[in-house]
């Protein structure tokens, strides 16, 4: 019996998702972001390999990713600049064919789909297709089976950025799990679905208690509470008094400081959240918080609340050493040179002044009670009135 050589090609670029709408997350790539311990690229590669599609090559757009690209054992990773991404993808396809592939399964990460690749390949062979495409609920998915001998069809597909194929492209209907991953709500939903085992893929690491997964070298200090379902990633640290609850996911190298509550939230890799805080219904990382209830993204500039540490261990070591070394001099400096508290102005004077903290940003420069400005209402005083019936 002859075994068919089927290989996988995964494309990871940011153009297929709406996350980039938020300026703060222009360098955020969902396909490379860890969700419950593994990135979508890792999960997709594992799924392909589970169906005997091996080896797998991945073409990743962009020179750098803030979350860091993890080396994956069985996946050949090819980094490509944005302007050469599709050419690199076509090149990777040709390399797979040169290496002896008879059929290539092409997946572009954007949505996360659990497709039965065995059935899809069988469908492709039964129909004698050149290129076949997966669909779900009437929606086209960016998952293709391409016969290796049809290089021109593949080339037309890559050159049109997967929008058009020059030959017929029969559709294979998939019925598996699908998450469009179009926005942070979907990213959070994926974490919930993985932790509640609605997906075939499971959280990484070991289940230390029913519903609680911890990856190797995760540190959960004494006094911290982790309530199921929850996930703590490798090298992540949950400090004493912290509470992790309601499908929360703490990704690798993240740190939750003492007494902080993480409820129905994801803390992305290399993020630190300060002590005695409460992160709820949010996705936090890259010094930003996506609040899912308010549907807004807020950049947190105060490193005591939330910060993103460097992905490189050398840089992390350097920054923590610098912090340690400068701690005492800073305290001395503050103690010696702290400005003495200035006397408070009396009420009458205060009423005549605009707030110095508003400065030019308020757009109002004249004092409130100047004769020239008498008709203007100062911007920093909205209302000053007496209540009752007056």
């Amino acid at each position: 019996m002859r075994v068919m050589d089927i290989r996988g090609l995964v494309l990871v670029n940011s153009a297929s998702v709406d996350f980039a709408d938020h300026n703060q997350f222009s360098n955020f790539v969902p396909g490379l972001t860890d969700v419950a311990g593994k990135s979508l690229l890792e999960r997709t590669a594992e799924r392909l390999q589970k169906f005997g599609i091996s080896p797998v090559a991945a073409v990743i757009e962009g020179p750098s990713y803030a979350g860091g690209i993890k080396p994956l054992g069985n996946v050949t990773q090819i980094a490509a600049p944005p302007e050469r991404f599709w050419r690199a993808a076509e090149g990777a396809f040709n390399d797979l064919v040169q290496a002896g592939a008879e059929l290539v399964v092409l997946v572009r990460l954007g949505a996360y789909a659990e497709i039965d690749f065995e059935n899809m390949v069988q469908f492709h062979l039964d129909r004698h297709c050149r290129v076949s495409r997966a669909t779900q609920n009437g929606q086209m998915m960016e998952v293709f089976c391409i016969s290796a001998s049809r290089r021109n069809d593949a080339a037309s597909l890559f050159r049109s950025r997967l929008t058009h194929c020059r030959s017929d492209c029969p559709e294979f209907e998939s019925f598996g799990y699908l998450n469009p991953l179009a926005d942070p709500v979907d990213l959070r939903q994926l974490a919930i679905d993985i932790l509640t085992l609605k997906t075939e893929t499971a959280p990484a690491g070991e289940q230390i208690r029913p519903g609680v997964w911890a990856a190797p070298r995760a540190q959960i200090e004494k006094g911290a509470r982790v309530l199921a379902p929850a996930f703590i990633g490798s090298y992540a640290r949950v400090r004493s008094g912290a509470v992790i609850t309601r499908c929360s996911s703490i990704e690798h190298h993240a740190q939750v400081d003492c007494g902080t509550v993480i409820e129905n939230a994801s803390l992305l890799s290399y993020s630190y959240i300060g002590a005695a805080l409460e992160l709820a219904h949010s996705v936090a990382g890259f010094s930003c918080i996506w609040n899912l209830r308010r549907d807004c993204v807020v950049r947190i500039s105060d490193s005591k609340l939330l910060r993103h540490s460097a992905a490189s261990s050398g840089n992390r070591l350097l920054s923590s050493t610098a912090e340690l070394v400068t701690y005492l001099p800073k305290q001395f400096w503050r103690g010696i040179f702290r400005p003495s508290p200035s006397p408070s102005p009396d009420l009458n004077n205060a009423l005549r002044q605009t707030s110095p903290s508003l400065g030019a940003a308020s757009g109002y420069r004249a004092p409130a009670c100047d004769s020239q400005a008498a008709n203007e209402f100062p911007t920093n005083f909205v209302v000053a009135r007496t209540h009752g019936n007056q």
Binding site: E278, I289, S301, L358, H387
Partner: protein, 130 residues
């Protein structure tokens, strides 16, 4: 019977509330907080950045107001301010209103609405009765 005749001061907070601007803002509002039973509303509609120092300043203002038997309320918080208040668990310590007007009105709204209406209707005839 007088319901409430003390002034309510509504102050708009700056766009960025960091350690420096918080200190300046506190210096600016202290006179309003150091009167007897201060009634102060901070309008947070323009706040785009609020850090720990800003939150600490708000708590300090609230504490100052409470010391003098007054109150500090917050109005129309921007999404950025709301997220930080929620993150620091301070949103539950303040009364927060959608608009400054609602916040200012709330200082005179300690009586149940029905009773307040009753009092207002009775007021003109009260001296005659006395």
């Amino acid at each position: 019977m007088e319901i409430n005749s003390r002034p309510v001061v509504v102050k708009r907070m700056p766009e960025r509330v960091n350690a420096r601007t918080a200190r300046e803002f506190l210096h600016d509002v202290r006179p309003f907080l150091s009167v007897d039973r201060p009634q102060v509303v901070f309008d947070l509609s323009q706040v785009v950045q609020l850090d720990a120092a800003g939150v600490e300043m708000l708590l300090r203002c609230m504490s100052e107001a409470h010391k003098r038997d007054g109150d500090l309320k917050l109005a129309s918080p921007s999404p950025e301010a709301s997220v930080v208040l929620e993150l620091t668990r301070t949103e539950r310590l303040f009364e927060i209103y959608e608009t400054s007007t609602d916040a200012a009105r709330s200082f005179s709204g300690f009586l149940p609405n029905a009773m307040r209406q009753q009092l207002l209707h009775k007021r003109p005839s009260a001296p005659a009765a006395a």
